[in-house]
């Protein structure tokens, strides 16, 4: 498509509204104030609309579409907070039932529509993807031509350009224009404007770099979104849990068996209820408040990286008190305090009694301790007695077929079936007395027993739960966030202001434009006018408003976004 040559000689790309160089309107608009957004440059999206690529480009470069995407994301996000997301329902609840039971028909509908996992739904992801695409395209569509226009702009703008600026004025009388312009120049310099001169006319400009703010912040956002997407690639993100009992060493998941952690001690510390400062609060709520959850841990590392098993030695790397808000970090990993269990059963100690005093034998030596995490199955004593564990259920329950079973290997409800052999029995051929023993449970399994196993001691341990986290996306996300903030500040706390002052046949013409914060621009001009005899430009928007008798009225350029 052919280029457009302006009367000033500058050749503009097809579709330019205001000549990039002198600002003369190339496409007539019937509004008193020119649309200065993007300097009236030719944007691809406003110019071509033929191929499918053009159409997609135009769709995503439209701010209207961008706003719709933002609004849809907003509404979707809000819907996701009506009822808790699946990850926040109480542990152990089945979502199929939970939503209906708790929230009735609406809850059921919520579940059926998939809103219980809204933020990971395909359509929410799609919206975020659309936002990303839109950000890239809309920025490219504008930033290149805008850059060119701001670079090519010349000092002496066309008459029609000046007239159609929002702030515009012409001096009443002919005066020594050149002298006044000189004074104005000095004043503007004082206000830190950059001045360009041409044939006695000036262009004073300030804060142009703020025009790049939006593009910088959009780039930051794109980087952020890319970072967030990388989470779904392997090796980028790790989310594991480990439970560690006091005194125990466990391998840290996700480290390929390289690192181990020992829980030296776990404590829960409460606030002192006598603390004067908090007395009122304690009285009102009547509750104790936790001060600290802390795991004193030792990080260990395997020294020989060879085969697991023989010769593996663990070397202490560091000791650390892991607390909420104070994770242990090493390599790219972090260990967080997230949960705990106090007083988990660890060991039972038993002895043996004769029920009817029938034996005269001394049983006082028959004392044994069963480790509930990893029990020994046979206990032999010097006096010939032998006790075997026939079956062990760490977390006992009766299953659907009415059979005893264990839910898992955590000794929350341990039951042990012991078999007792007296010295005169042969463990291989005879069968001993059976008894079932647990917490507050001690019964013979078949008929009456002559011996009774009695629990004499219980040992308990605290268990800590830690999250193992590795997140390689964090550096990328942080960079995105920092760039975003820089762009945001750049575009929000600085403004691009321009003042054109021209000497046209002895009269001073002045026009001003600010991309925002017109107030400050007007004050700058007032400041200049306090010394130099320049006309105070009128705000053509105020005039418009007064003549129309109501606000706005000018929707003409709203469609061009």
């Amino acid at each position: 498509m052919e280029k457009v040559k302006c009367e000033c000689g500058h050749v503009n790309p097809f579709g330019t509204y205001l000549c990039e160089s002198c600002g003369k309107p190339l496409i007539e608009e019937d509004t008193p104030v020119a649309n200065m957004r993007y300097e009236g440059v030719a944007r691809r999206s406003q110019t071509y609309n033929r191929t499918i690529v053009d159409k997609i480009w135009n769709f995503f470069s439209s701010v209207k579409v961008g706003i719709w995407i933002i609004v849809l994301l907003l509404i979707a996000s809000a819907i996701g907070t009506i009822f808790p997301q699946e990850m926040y329902i109480p542990p152990g609840e089945r979502p199929t039932l939970f939503y209906e039971q708790e929230y009735g028909t609406l809850g059921k509908l919520y579940y059926q529509l998939g809103f219980h996992n809204l933020y990971s739904s395909w359509w929410y992801m799609l919206l975020i993807a659309a936002l990303g695409i839109s950000l890239v395209i809309c920025s490219l569509d504008r930033v290149v031509p805008l850059y060119r226009a701001l670079k090519t702009q010349k000092v002496t703008r066309h008459k029609a350009f000046l007239e159609r600026q929002r702030l515009f004025g012409i001096s009443e009388d002919t005066i020594d224009a050149d002298k006044e312009i000189k004074i104005a120049e000095k004043m503007l310099k004082e206000k830190k404007y950059t001045i360009r001169k041409e044939k006695g006319n000036i262009l004073a400009e300030k804060g142009r770099f703020s025009r790049w703010g939006p593009y910088v912040n959009h780039i930051g956002l794109i980087i952020f979104l890319i970072g967030a997407m990388l989470r779904f690639f392997p090796e980028m993100y790790l989310d594991e849990h480990i439970w560690v009992r006091e005194g125990e060493e466990v391998v840290i998941k996700g480290t390929n068996g390289e690192y181990f952690l020992r829980n030296d001690q776990f404590i829960v510390e409460l606030y002192d209820t006598d603390d004067e400062r908090f007395r009122q609060a304690f009285e009102r709520t009547g509750q104790q408040v936790v001060k600290t959850y802390q795991t004193s841990a030792t990080l260990l590392r395997r020294t020989n990286t060879g085969a697991v098993g023989v010769g593996t030695e663990l070397e202490e790397v560091k000791q650390y008190d892991i607390r909420v808000n104070d994770p242990l970090t090493f390599d790219s990993f972090a260990l967080y305090q997230v949960d705990y269990k106090l007083n988990e059963l660890a060991e039972f100690t038993f002895t043996l009694d004769a029920v009817n005093d029938t034996t005269t034998e001394d049983l006082s030596d028959v004392v044994f301790t069963v480790n509930l995490y990893d029990p020994e199955y046979v206990y032999e004593f010097d006096n010939g007695y032998r006790i075997e564990i026939m079956e062990y259920f760490p977390n006992f329950y009766i299953d659907n077929n009415n059979q005893p079973d264990t839910r898992n290997m955590i000794p929350d409800n341990p039951r042990i079936i012991f078999e007792v052999f007296t010295p005169d029995m042969d463990p291989d051929s005879d069968s001993g007395e059976l008894s079932l023993i647990g917490v507050q449970v001690n019964e013979p399994l078949i008929g009456e027993n002559d011996y009774r196993i009695r629990m004499i001691d219980v040992d308990m341990k605290h268990v800590t739960a830690l999250t193992v986290r590795k997140d390689r996306t964090i550096p990328i996300i942080s960079i995105g966030g920092v760039i975003f903030m820089i762009g945001l500040i750049q575009g929000s706390y600085w403004h691009h202001r321009r003042i054109w002052i021209q000497n046209r046949d002895g009269k001073i013409w002045i026009a001003g434009h600010a991309n925002k914060n017109w107030h400050a621009l007007k004050r700058d001009i007032d400041f200049v006018a306090s010394k130099a005899a320049i006309p105070i430009p009128k705000d053509q928007l105020d005039e418009e408003q007064n003549s129309e008798g109501e606000e706005g009225g000018n929707n003409s350029d709203s469609t061009k976004q």
């Binding site: 907003l74 908090f278 408040v289």
Partner: protein
């Protein structure tokens, strides 16, 4: 120390009141001019001086309480809401010199007072911090959020001024109803505060026996006469008001009762106004605002939002993510509070993009500022007290 800090807060409250009065005089008072044509009505200046004093005393409150408590006092509803009010006043003090707009003061100061008074309805005692909250990142995050919201709230004041200035109150239109509703909401908050103060001065207490949401018998104490009683409630205290109706068990009936009282109280005050003046409140206020330039309050509210948005983003999203990464193992977890911060962010982002087109300047933009403030209040009250309460941080 805590007591001293409370005294400072009280003093600052009166300073805000004085500032309001001076700003009122600066607008409604006579325009005296000296012979040289200089403005002699200096009340606007005094109003500003008192706003500065008010901010200074309330910041003194903040610092003293910080020292007394041992951590930044932004960790419960009273502390946070108070700080939000202070932040808004601070934003005003910073922005006023740019625009020298006394109308802004006239509307900002009462809103600040309302917020601080509302804050003091929550338990004011010092509370110990649970482990998850013991982090300086949390405090940095919360303080920045409040500052951002305070600045954004000025955008609301600007928007409200704009609406009161331009809307035609002679006919009852949707817009008039909208503006009246905003004013009514402020009155309902005022009613809530007044009722709370009066009933607690009377030591009103009524205890009910009722059946709670788990079908178990329990007791509940009301501090206001029960319009709505608890589920199957039986009044235990003698000589107290018997409720008209009973709430279903899943609803916190005493809170519902309070809300109902506030709605009715607000309606009452509003009704008195209407009877006295026989026109919408907005219509009564409008003549005072005839010197307000709509374009300049429009720009003012836009600037407040352009300034507040980065601060809010920094505090509400970026610092929040840093804290979440340290305290909750992940920087983002789609927790309702996080999501509502995101929603507020998206809302103001949409606002800024709408402002790119001239069709959204002026009135539409003013309505958006109002909605934005409603969102902030929703975050403060609803998200904190209702949504988050359902599955509040358990650790």
């Amino acid at each position: 120390m805590i007591q001293l800090s409370s005294n400072f807060l009280l003093i600052s409250f009166f300073m805000y009141l004085l500032a309001t009065i001076f700003f009122t005089v600066s607008i409604t008072g006579k325009r005296f001019k000296t012979k040289e044509g200089e403005e002699k009505n200096k009340s606007g200046f005094y109003g500003y001086v008192f706003s500065i004093l008010a901010v200074a005393t309330s910041i003194t409150y903040f610092i003293l309480r910080w020292v007394g408590v041992g951590h930044a006092p932004v960790s419960n509803m009273f502390e946070y809401t108070t700080f939000l009010g202070i932040a808004m006043a601070l934003a005003f003090v910073v922005i006023y010199p740019m625009y020298k707009n006394n109308y802004l003061g006239l509307f900002t100061m009462p809103v600040v007072m309302l917020i601080i008074a509302y804050a003091s309805m929550f338990p004011r005692e010092v509370q110990p911090l649970i482990p998850a909250l013991q982090s300086y990142w949390l405090h940095i995050h919360v303080i920045t959020v409040a500052l951002g919201q305070g600045i954004l709230a000025l955008g609301f004041v600007g928007g409200l001024l704009y609406l009161l200035r331009v809307i035609d109150f002679r006919k009852i239109t949707k817009k008039v109803v909208g503006v009246e509703f905003i004013l009514y909401s402020c009155l309902a908050v005022l009613a809530y505060i007044l009722l709370n103060i009066s009933f607690s001065a009377m030591n009103y207490e009524a205890t009910f026996e009722y059946v709670n949401e788990n079908g178990v018998e329990a007791e509940i104490t009301y501090y206001k006469p029960a319009l709505v009683g608890p589920n199957e409630g039986v009044l235990l205290t003698e000589g107290r008001f018997d409720p008209f109706i009973q709430a279903p068990a899943i609803i916190r009936s005493d809170d519902l009762n309070t809300v109902l009282w506030s709605i009715i109280g607000g309606l009452f005050i509003y009704g008195v106004f209407i009877l006295l003046f026989r026109q919408p409140i907005g219509g009564k206020i409008q003549p005072w605002l005839k010197n307000v330039n709509p374009n300049s309050v429009d720009e003012l509210s836009y600037r407040a939002i352009a300034i507040g948005f980065p601060v809010f983003t920094l505090g509400g999203l970026i610092f929040a993510m840093i804290w979440a990464q340290i305290a909750w193992t992940r920087f983002w977890g789609w927790d309702p509070k996080e999501v509502w911060a995101l929603i507020t962010f998206l809302f103001y982002a949409a606002y800024l993009h709408l402002r790119l087109s001239r069709g959204w300047h002026g009135e539409k933009s003013a309505w958006l500022c109002v909605i934005g403030f409603a969102l902030i209040m929703f975050n403060l009250i609803f998200v904190n007290l209702v949504i988050a309460g359902l599955h509040s941080y358990a650790f």
